[in-house]
Symmetry: C2
Subunit: 321 residues, 2 copies
């Protein structure tokens, strides 16, 4: 490799890291548990360890490492690398930039993970060449990112595009954020799981009981299997999530009039085949025909790698400046 | 006058026109009924007549007329001057630009009225120097405009920022646009009037009965008087509108994380003194504290002249290019 780029997707549960070569192809990947509960220093050590492992695994010459990029949850100043707040990792007003740059003698750039995912889709994925994009990433929660006039929108204080917390119903269910009726409280993995478990406790029958076994976690893959088997409860709950996603997406189309709306995240990775066509149809109910006309409603192309590619895009943008 | 600019606010009911001098001060104004029902050609003639009247009234030298700007309702391509669709004026895929430019030998620029209002507030009003602004204009309907990175956001097809049609409640009341539960269906002048009249028909007592006399129209000034007199029904209905405006505004803060949110339009012109402090307080319920912190919630400074000033700003932007 003449040139190498290391990109990281730092999540509350796992850290995914990849080496990209000079053709911007992934040459190797490492995946580790974050163990966020062990505190700031341990996570920092673990991230440094993953970068070391990637350097060794890829057999790169250390001198060929051009830059390191990363996406992490929370409010992050993409310009300075300052992590203002992360919901699931004990980082607050924390800057990992200096540590990594000194250790590896390469520039380090970091941004909000979902924003990076949308940036990745715009630069290398399904959104290539689109001037205005709204991205809705449905996972444990719901995050968003917006490309406006070919640029990732940051917001006044880097905390913009919290589209999971737009109000879908002022009197709706409480959300983890403390508000009521947020999109996230209706259509995230947390909301879907809560609804299914609540129904199971009421004695509703579902193939998910067998699939879950002794665990209390409903994985997206289990939901996929339940949908494939036309499980009544799974269909009912997912169709409700689809309805509210369509409402949120319809509002966002009225607000942004984007060229393209991209659905991504773990839930769409597993269930997009079922959910996307339904959202595409229902979204018409919630957006103005003159505004909706011509808007492409698509699914993420880079899937689980979108944040890695977004970090790569962030590196490339910084080099352009 | 060494230089003169003519700016128009073309509404479904009235056309307001002003001459600005080289110091960008209004030197004279003309106001006429639009008489939209008389059709495209008559409106065109009337607009030309207003421009003529402004030239004469201001005693300008015709050679000093630098440009003409205008704001009108609907979907307008600000780059080409193409009026794609207006809800209350019989213009569809219509271009008034050529006619006016040939007649007055000066460039003509036109944009969506509410977008122009927000542009005016950003360039000459309360939003000066703010990089990211969301404007909510509450009048007969609810319109919006967004300044992103010091630029008016157009949307992919010039129909963006229809924030009056974001969903506040998926099962809410029908809106004029055909959707249910739009912000406009809860908090516009139309919604407020509908609610008050419906309650009056149910025998609720209100000072508005006397104020309205034989008419069926509830003017914003009447509402102001009713609020001043602490009329129970008027307070109840306006407080409800305030609640939903706060929900919509809170969502928009979560989505855009703007530096400033500006309320404008006829309803705020008349009732802002009562409504603004209440919205400022209630908006906290609907936005994430970390995102909300530092966002200024203010009222339009240019009031009824905001669209005129926005048209002036549009002229100035075109000259800069």
């Amino acid at each position: 490799m003449k040139k190498a780029y290391i990109c990281l997707d730092i999540g509350g549960t796992k850290v995914l890291g990849s080496v990209f070569d000079e053709n911007l192809k992934i040459v190797c990947t490492v995946k580790k548990k974050t163990k966020a509960e062990e505190g700031q220093e341990k996570i920092e050590e673990r991230i440094i360890g993953i970068i070391e492992e990637l350097i060794i695994k890829s057999q790169m010459d250390r001198g060929s490492l051009v830059a390191i990029g990363a996406g992490a949850p929370g409010i992050i100043n993409e310009s300075t690398g300052q992590i203002i707040f992360t919901p699931n990792i004990p980082w607050k007003n924390y800057n990992i930039k200096k540590v990594i740059e000194e250790r590896f003698n390469a520039p380090f750039h970091i941004g909000n993970d979902v924003k990076m995912g949308v940036l990745g889709e715009w630069k290398y994925g399904v959104g290539k060449g689109k001037e205005n994009i709204v991205g809705i990433f449905v996972g444990t929660g719901i995050g968003g990112g917006v490309i406006i006039n070919n640029k990732l929108y940051a917001g006044a204080k880097h905390s913009g595009t919290e589209i999971g917390h737009m109000i879908i119903n002022t009197e709706g269910p409480y959300c983890n954020c403390g508000q009521r009726g947020c999109l996230e409280a209706y259509a995230s993995k947390i909301a879907i799981t809560r609804e299914i478990r609540s129904q199971m406790q009421r004695g509703r029958k579902t193939v998910l009981s067998d699939l879950m076994g002794d665990t209390t976690v409903i994985k997206s893959k289990m939901l996929k299997k339940a949908i494939d088997e036309k499980d009544e409860l799974a269909l009912e709950v997912l169709d409700k999530a689809v309805y509210y996603l369509a409402a949120g997406a319809g509002s966002l189309i009225n607000i942004f009039n984007p060229n393209m709306l991209i659905f991504g995240g773990g839930v769409f990775e597993a269930l997009g085949g079922y959910m996307l066509p339904k959202v595409q149809e229902k979204i018409r109910r919630f957006s103005m025909p003159a505004v909706f006309e011509g808007t492409e409603i698509v699914q993420s192309k880079l899937g689980d790698d979108s944040i890695l590619y977004g970090s790569l895009a962030l590196i490339m943008e910084r080099f352009r400046k």
